[in-house]
Every structure is written in structure tokens, then in C-alpha cells.
């Protein structure tokens, strides 16, 4: 509870600071606010408190809150001079991102489906505005409109699903729903479509195929920093919400929803990877690869074990930090060259070896090479599904991972093996901090993942 209050208050303070043109104070204020929220997250650890029957800050919620807050913090550090170049009213950016974060904290810790809906809407509405915040830019407007229409549509699915489940069980509370599933002799027939509709609604939000069509356009059209936020932190929160519902309350019904989920996973993996392969634009490639990662993340729900939640946590952490590196470098390169095609990365190793090295680690992690966090994430997913000996499914995922190697290594090849413009590319100090922190986390989780394996 303290976490949400802190973040919301920070958001208001930042808004007022913007009103009084205290632009220099925005970032320090935000950072202090987020660090305080992070502090509350640590304090609440193992507390397992229930707040008014609506939210439960168990370790699952706190771990995901922690990742979301750290991710947001790193993204804020990347804002240096970024928003200034785009708009005068930069306080809006800060406030909206903070509101979105508050919504996400609700999404990862809800105990009542009403809270899920409220959190999701707080987050989504902030994001609709953020995607379109470059008012004069056509692509940004398009992204915002698309995102809004698709988002509203998916919210409809979600609400309908919630209603049907309420109709069957008479409650929004996750524990009561689970109790209903375990105890009732015959489950009401309207419960099942409710589950499917909720699955569709949430799949929209996390960008899983075949409900992924908005992702590439929105990611490409939105300002890069907002894209970073959407594809990392927002996605992580979406998966936490997914997991809280399906691995928690709906777990007794696993036999029913595992089959449609499997279809979604296979489609997501295949479409994400194969389409990413044909992209010529780095940002679009990352958008499609984020779809494929959604597939790996949902992988852990196909076979529910006691580790499923933790596996998603590890994978989401690995993916978040690697993606932050990738987008940070993309922003730098785009500022310098004005393009985000693969060619603009040519010869990056000569222009700035440190940045190239960081991006290489990120790509290795996204591809899943040992000694990076991404490998541990993928390994846990494969291990999880292999416990029920679904060998063919794992083989399918492996084939997709191979496709992934190809397009991630194309970036590495461009940076190290090709010659490009010889212009120096320098990184501001804050970018260096973000890059090095993310690289350090990626490598530490890859070499000694024991620190994160038993969090939940």
C-alpha cells in the first residue's frame, strides 16, 4: 500500500513542480520517490499483508513490483535531454509514467479482480497518452490511436470475462474463485467462456499472438523511450497479472485452459520469431522479438509447477534489463545518425567499444547464451515444460530460439564485423550508468542466479 501511495504522491509533486517550471528538479524528485517506494518494497518483504481485501503484497507481488520500479528508475535515468528535445511540458512525461507505474503495482498485487481492472486502466490510459505525446508527429498519433482502439477492445474482453466469472462464482475475490473451483460439484457453464475471454483480454495486453497486431506499429510510432517502457516494465507487469490469475486462482482449472494457451504460445513464438527475422529496422525487430519473448514467458504456464512464478520472474528480469540496454543504445544511435535501421549500427564497435560491448551482452542475453541472465531464463522455461516430458513442445521452442540467434547475431555482426561511418559516438554519463548497471545485473544473474531463484 505504501508503495502505491509513495508513487502517486511523487507523481502529483512532479506535476506541480512542472507547473512552476522547476524542470531541473523533476528527475531528482522522481528518483527519490522511486527509491523510497523501492525501500518500502524491501520493508514489506515476507509480510504477506492483505490490504482491505483488495490487494495482497505477497512476495510474488513485491518481487515484480521491485523489478518494475527498478526498470522504471533506469528508464528515467535515460530521459536526460530526451524529453527536452521533444516537448516543453516535460513534467507530463514524468507524471504519466509514474501513474502508469502505480497502475502496474496494482496489477501485480491485486487480490480482487476489480483491482486488476482499475490497475490495468490506470496503466493503459497513461500509456495511450504517452504513445501519442508527440502531438505533431503522424506516427505517434497513429500509434496512440491504434493502441487506444485495441486497448479498449481488449478491455472489453477482459471485463466481459470478469463479469461471467462473477456470475458463476458471485465474487471478484481470487481466493473465493479458487475455493469455488475446488469445492463446487459442478462448475457453472458460464465460467469457462469467462476464463477464455480473460485470457484473450490479457493476451492483448501482453502482446501475445494472434492478438499482437498492435505491437509493432505502436512500438515503432511511439517515442523510443516510451517504447522501452512499454516493452519492458509494462510487459513484465502484464505477465505478473496473467500469472496471478491463471497460476493462482484458476490453477485448479489448468487442464481446461492449458490447451488454448498452448496454441497461443506456439503462435506467439512462431510469428514473433519468424517476423523478426525479416525486419530491416532495429526497433521493429525488437518489437517482434518482444512478441516472441512473450511466448517464452507464457511457456511456464503450460506446465504449472511451484516454480512457475519464479521462472517468469527470472525471465522477465533478464528480458527487461537486456531490452533496456538495447533501447538505450538505439536512442543514442538514432540521435547520432537519425536512423534506426540495422545499417546505422555498422561499425559501432569502432565508434564506441563500450557501448558495443554492452549491446553485445544484451543481444547474447536475449538470444540466450550461457553465462547471461537470458540463458538462465530460457533454461528454466525449458526445464519447467520438460518436467512433464512435453519434448515436442520444447523442441519447437528450441527451433524458435535458433531463429532468434540469427537475428540477434545480425546486430552483433553489424557492430563488430562491418564497417560504418567513422564518427565518434559518445554516451552521456547517465546512459553509461544505466548500461553498466544493466550489464552487471545481466551477467550476475547469468553467472550466479541463486540470488533470484527462490524469491517467490
Amino acid at each position: 500500500m505504501n508503495i502505491i501511495i509513495t508513487i502517486s504522491i511523487t507523481a502529483f509533486i512532479v506535476l506541480y513542480a512542472g507547473l512552476f517550471k522547476a524542470n531541473k528538479a523533476l528527475l531528482p524528485l522522481t528518483v527519490v520517490g522511486l527509491l523510497t517506494a523501492l525501500g518500502f518494497t524491501f520493508c514489506a518483504w515476507n509480510g504477506n499483508a492483505v490490504h482491505f481485501g483488495m490487494m495482497q503484497t505477497d512476495n510474488f507481488a513485491l518481487a515484480f513490483s521491485g523489478i518494475c520500479i527498478i526498470g522504471t528508475l533506469l528508464i528515467f535515468l535515460l530521459t536526460q535531454n530526451y524529453f527536452h528535445a521533444k516537448s516543453d511540458n516535460i513534467a507530463e512525461y514524468y507524471t504519466l509514467i509514474l501513474f502508469a507505474l502505480a497502475g502496474m503495482i496494482m496489477m501485480v498485487s491485486y487480490k480482487n479482480m476489480a483491482m486488476l481492472f482499475v490497475g490495468l486502466e490506470i496503466m493503459s490510459v497513461s500509456l495511450y497518452i504517452l504513445a501519442g505525446i508527440r502531438k505533431k508527429d503522424f506516427a505517434s498519433n497513429e500509434a496512440s490511436l491504434k493502441y487506444f482502439l485495441m486497448g479498449a477492445f481488449s478491455t472489453g474482453f477482459l471485463l466481459f470475462g470478469i463479469t461471467l466469472i462473477y456470475g458463476a462464482t458471485g465474487s471478484f475475490d481470487l481466493d473465493k474463485i479458487q475455493a469455488y473451483l475446488v469445492n463446487s460439484q459442478a462448475i457453472s457453464p458460464i465460467f469457462y467462456p469467462g476464463v477464455i475471454l480473460m485470457m484473450i483480454g490479457l493476451s492483448f495486453k501482453v502482446g501475445a499472438a494472434p492478438f499482437h497486431f498492435w505491437t509493432p506499429d505502436v512500438y515503432e510510432g511511439a517515442p523510443s523511450l516510451i517504447t522501452t517502457f512499454m516493452s519492458t516494465v509494462v510487459k513484465t507487469a502484464g505477465f505478473a497479472a496473467f500469472l496471478r490469475l491463471f497460476a493462482g486462482a484458476l490453477a485448479p482449472l489448468h487442464d481446461f485452459w492449458a490447451a488454448p494457451l498452448m496454441v497461443i504460445v506456439c503462435l506467439t513464438l512462431f510469428i514473433g520469431n519468424v517476423t523478426a527475422l525479416f525486419q530491416k529496422n532495429f526497433k521493429r525487430m525488437l518489437a517482434y522479438s518482444s512478441i516472441s519473448h512473450a511466448g517464452y514467458l507464457l511457456f511456464s504456464l503450460i506446465v504449472l509447477t511451484k516454480n512457475s512464478g519464479n521462472n517468469v520472474l527470472v525471465y522477465a528480469a533478464a528480458y527487461t534489463f537486456a531490452s533496456i540496454i538495447a533501447f538505450a543504445v538505439l536512442i543514442l544511435v538514432k540521435q547520432k545518425t537519425g536512423s534506426d535501421s540495422f545499417e546505422s549500427f555498422n561499425g559501432l564497435a569502432k565508434r564506441n567499444p563500450l557501448i558495443a560491448l554492452c549491446l553485445t551482452v544484451a543481444m547474447l542475453s536475449l538470444a540466450g547464451i550461457p553465462l547471461t541472465a537470458g540463458f538462465i531464463g530460457k533454461y528454466l522455461m525449458f526445464l519447467n515444460v520438460m518436467t512433464e516430458y512435453k519434448t515436442l513442445l520444447v523442441a519447437f521452442a528450441i527451433l524458435n530460439a535458433l531463429v532468434g540467434f540469427y537475428y540477434y547475431f545480425r546486430v552483433i555482426a553489424a557492430m563488430w564485423f562491418k564497417d560504418g561511418a567513422e564518427t565518434e559516438l559518445s554516451a552521456p554519463a547517465q546512459y553509461k550508468v544505466v548500461l553498466l548497471v544493466s550489464v552487471a545485473i545481466t551477467l550476475i544473474l547469468g553467472i550466479y542466479p541463486a540470488i533470484i531463484l527462490n524469491l517467490i
Partner: protein
């Protein structure tokens, strides 16, 4: 125990220091590789040649997942560790007449790869083995793709995706074994003790075999090899052919045979047939090559095919032959590629027909090259002879026809290698080779060392045979025993 940790991680420390050494990277990396070699010799001196695992390290790493840092050395490991740490300084020394751009990165990657290789060759935990397997691949990918020749990006992408495809399916097999293991860990002894039925063993066999076959490479998984060898910088080719392909062979011996003996029993015949097809096929293609480097690349496929056939023949002679031949092939092939590199650095070509008469102007090079070629074609008195003789004996015990066809490798090999030697070194000098200068400095040091090893091991191979004998014996007994219980 500390010795083994030092042995594995010294190259890693070396790699990190070399990366920051700037212009003196060459010297720093040489020092580290030589110190590693000395350390290896000390360990080999303290090694008691029996079947036991020595210098064992077993530290918890990721306890929740049952992953331990478990490594140790037995006779078979000792041999490949010796080979690795012997070849790395030779390979580094052989680069002295090159001026690679960004040398710090180049030498750091070589040492980093050495660390990965040592992990593979000493790991007694399947997860650790897999980590080492990939850790050796990443540096060589960068070495080949940064400092390589024409079309290097496409070729190395093929090489990389090919090898990683194999290893991912191996990872799937490893996870399967882990789940079957009631103790839920990756310990090699626990894997040996598993009781799998023949269907399970069958698919695990393929999951592992394809990974190893791609690495060696065995026909039909070899298509990445000639291009990669040709496009790589010479040191990259040496690392690939001299050491890296032994990862595949070692994997078969350490992991495949003892874990799935019934799988090997059922499918080993296919492996032998593929190996023998590879021998003949690669030899025939080697005949037609115009580029000496490609010729050596194909000859390498033929030699590895024989080693693999000898292993899958599964008897004492074949196995011991494979041991000796791993060492000999590593030394010889590095020598061959070095000679070709020397020629290329002088006249900028490796095309056989453009060369000729080099022996007249460079007698020392001609002599050393001759010794290496003779070693490669297995002339009695050279190191190649012992290995190939034992391998053929092993294959003969398996089947006469198999041995008859596999034996062609010696005849074919002699023909194409000697013809290559004749065309390159003998005859009249032409306008290109007339200004050829003889070997000097480190070139001399490297080539004479290699020649000395070829002759010494050829005349007195007993230390090598003795080193691995007990371990090989133990392996055979262990596998046969397990095979009997499955039936």
C-alpha cells in the same frame, strides 16, 4: 584441488589482463599460455596413470537447480588437457609474424576460449560441461568473424547457428537426464547410474550425437567446416581443427558411450557407416581441391571420420588409437596450417598450381613441412602411424569390410598430401616463389617443436598410451557391464 581450479581459471585471468594490455597483448598472452603449459606439465607429472579421477573439485554453484562446479581429471581428460595447453602457446607463437588489428581483443579471445575448452575437458557436471561447450564457441565465433577473410560474416553465421543448433538439442537431452535422475542433479556418476530403457537411450543418443557430430564434423553434418576453416584467420583455423573438434570426440567418449550404451549399441552402426562415408567422401573431395587450405580442411574430415569409427567400434585398440590420434592430429594439423600460413604470408596465395619449387629456396621449411606431411599420412616412425594403426585395428575387429574401406584413408591421404607437397615445394621455382625466404625466429621455434613432437611420439608413444590405458580399460568395462544389465 586448487591446482585444477588454477589450471581452468588461469587462462580466464590471462584473458582479462590481456584485454587491457594494449600493444603488449601478444607478450602477455604468450606468458599466460606458457605458464598454463608448465602448470599442466606439473599436474601431468603428479598424475597417477590409473582409472581414478584426480584433482577433483566439487563446489556448490546453483544449489537450487542441482548444479555443482564439479570437475576432475582422469587419463582421458589429462590427454586432451595436455593437448589444449600444448597447442595454445604454439598457436599464439605462430601469430608472431601477423599484425592483427586490435591485438588485445584477439589474444584475449584465444585465452578465453582456452578456459572454455578446459571446462569442457574436465567437467564432471553436465551443466558445467554445457557452459564450457558454449563458452568455447562464442570466442571462436568472434575470432573467425572479426579477423577472417572474404565472406566471413555469412560463413560464420552458418557455423554458429549450425553448432548451436546441435548444442541446444544436447541441452534438451541433458535436461531429460536431469529429470530422470532421482537426486535431481547433473552429476556424471548419477547419469552413468541411470536405468533408461532402449527407446529413451535411442533418442538421447541422437540428441547428443548430433551435437558432437556437428562439432567433429562427421558426414553429413560437415558442410560448415571447409568454408569456416578457409575463411578463418590461421590461428582460428588452428583452434578449430587442432582443439575444438576434439570437443566432439571427447564428448562421445565421456558422455555418450557411458550414459547411453544401449543407444550406442543400437545406433552405433549408423555412426560408423556415416564416419566411413565421411572418410571416403572427404578424401575424394580433397583430391580435387585447388586451394591447399581447403585440401587440409577436407583431409581433417577424413581423419576425424577414422577416429570416430574407431571409437564407435568400441574396443580397446580403437579407443586407444583414438586417444593417440587425437593428440597426433591436433599437432599435425596445426603444423600443416602453420606452414600454409607461412607460405601465404610470403606469396599471398595458397593455390597449389601457382606454387612450386619452394624447397630450393627454403630448405628448412621444406624439411619441416615434409616431416609434418609424413606424420599426417601416417608413415611408420611418425606419430600419425601409431594412432591410425590402432584405429584400423579397432575397426578391423569390428568388421573386415569397414576396416577395408576405412583403410582407404591412408592410401588416399598419402596420395593427395604427397601430391600437394610435390606441387608446392618441389619442381622449378616460378616468378612468385623465387623470392621466397626461409623460416626464421618464432617460425623456426614452432615448426621444430612440432617436428620434434611428431618424431618423439612416433618412436616412443608409450607415455601417451600408458597415460590413457587404465581409464580406457575402465570405461570399456563400465559400459559393457551396463550394457549387460540393460539386455
Amino acid at each position: 584441488m586448487e591446482q585444477l581450479l588454477l589450471l581452468i581459471f588461469l587462462p580466464l585471468v590471462g584473458a582479462i589482463i590481456t584485454a587491457f594490455a594494449g600493444k603488449s597483448a601478444k607478450i602477455v598472452s604468450t606468458v599466460f599460455s606458457v605458464v598454463s603449459l608448465v602448470l599442466t606439465l606439473v599436474i601431468a607429472g603428479n598424475f597417477i596413470p590409473n582409472a581414478s579421477t584426480q584433482f577433483e573439485v566439487n563446489l556448490p554453484w546453483i544449489a537450487d537447480l542441482g548444479i555443482n562446479f564439479h570437475a576432475g581429471i582422469d587419463g582421458i581428460s589429462m590427454l586432451v588437457v595436455l593437448l589444449t595447453n600444448l597447442l595454445v602457446p604454439i598457436i599464439i607463437l605462430s601469430s608472431y609474424n601477423h599484425q592483427y588489428k586490435n591485438p588485445a581483443a584477439f589474444y584475449a579471445l584465444i585465452l578465453f576460449m582456452q578456459c572454455g575448452l578446459l571446462l569442457v575437458f574436465t567437467a564432471l557436471d553436465a551443466f558445467l560441461f554445457y557452459i564450457g561447450w558454449e563458452a568455447a564457441l562464442i570466442p571462436i565465433y568472434f575470432i573467425c568473424a572479426i579477423w577472417g577473410g572474404k565472406d566471413r560474416i555469412r560463413i560464420n553465421m552458418k557455423f554458429f547457428v549450425y553448432t548451436i543448433a546441435g548444442s541446444l538439442f544436447m541441452l534438451m537431452g541433458i535436461i531429460y537426464l536431469y529429470l530422470q535422475n532421482p537426486a535431481h542433479n547433473f552429476d556424471i556418476q548419477a547419469f552413468y547410474a541411470l536405468n533408461l530403457d532402449s527407446a529413451q537411450q535411442g533418442w538421447i543418443f541422437w540428441a547428443f550425437f548430433i551435437a558432437f557430430a556437428i562439432k567433429m564434423p562427421i558426414f553429413p553434418f560437415h558442410t560448415w567446416q571447409p568454408d569456416t576453416y578457409t575463411a578463418a584467420p590461421t590461428q582460428g583455423t588452428m583452434l578449430l581443427s587442432g582443439i575444438m573438434l576434439k570437443m566432439g570426440i571427447y564428448g562421445v567418449i565421456r558422455w555418450l558411450l557411458p550414459i547411453v550404451p544401449a543407444g550406442v549399441h543400437d545406433w552405433g552402426q549408423v555412426a560408423i557407416v556415416l564416419s566411413i562415408i565421411g572418410i571416403v567422401y572427404a578424401s575424394l573431395i580433397a583430391f580435387t581441391q585447388k586451394d591447399a587450405k581447403r585440401l587440409v580442411a577436407y583431409s581433417s574430415i577424413a581423419h576425424v571420420g577414422l577416429i570416430s569409427a574407431g571409437i564407435f567400434a568400441f574396443n580397446q585398440q580403437g579407443m586407444q588409437g583414438a586417444m593417440v590420434q587425437m593428440l597426433s592430429h591436433g599437432i599435425n594439423v596445426v603444423g600443416l596450417f602453420f606452414v600454409l600460413d607461412i607460405i601465404f604470408s610470403r606469396v599471398k596465395t595458397n593455390k597449389i598450381e601457382e606454387l612450386g619449387g619452394i624447397a630450393k629456396v627454403a630448405p628448412q621449411l621444406a624439411l619441416t613441412f615434409l616431416i609434418i606431411v609424413l606424420g599426417t599420412v601416417a608413415l611408420p616412425g611418425t606419430n600419425g602411424f601409431i594412432g591410425e594403426f590402432l584405429l584400423l585395428m579397432g575397426v578391423y575387429n569390428y568388421g573386415i569390410w569397414a576396416a577395408a574401406i576405412a583403410g582407404l584413408t591412408i592410401i588416399f591421404g598419402a596420395v593427395y598430401m604427397l601430391r600437394m607437397y610435390q606441387n608446392v615445394m618441389l619442381g622449378e621455382t616460378n616468378s612468385l616463389t623465387i623470392t621466397f625466404t626461409d623460416i626464421k625466429g618464432t617460425e623456426k621455434l614452432v615448426l621444430y617443436t612440432i617436428c620434434a613432437l611428431i618424431i618423439v611420439l612416433g618412436i616412443y608413444p608409450k607415455p601417451v598410451l600408458h597415460l590413457t590405458e587404465a581409464s580406457v580399460q575402465h570405461l570399456l568395462e563400465q559400459v559393457n557391464q551396463k550394457l549387460n544389465t540393460v539386455k
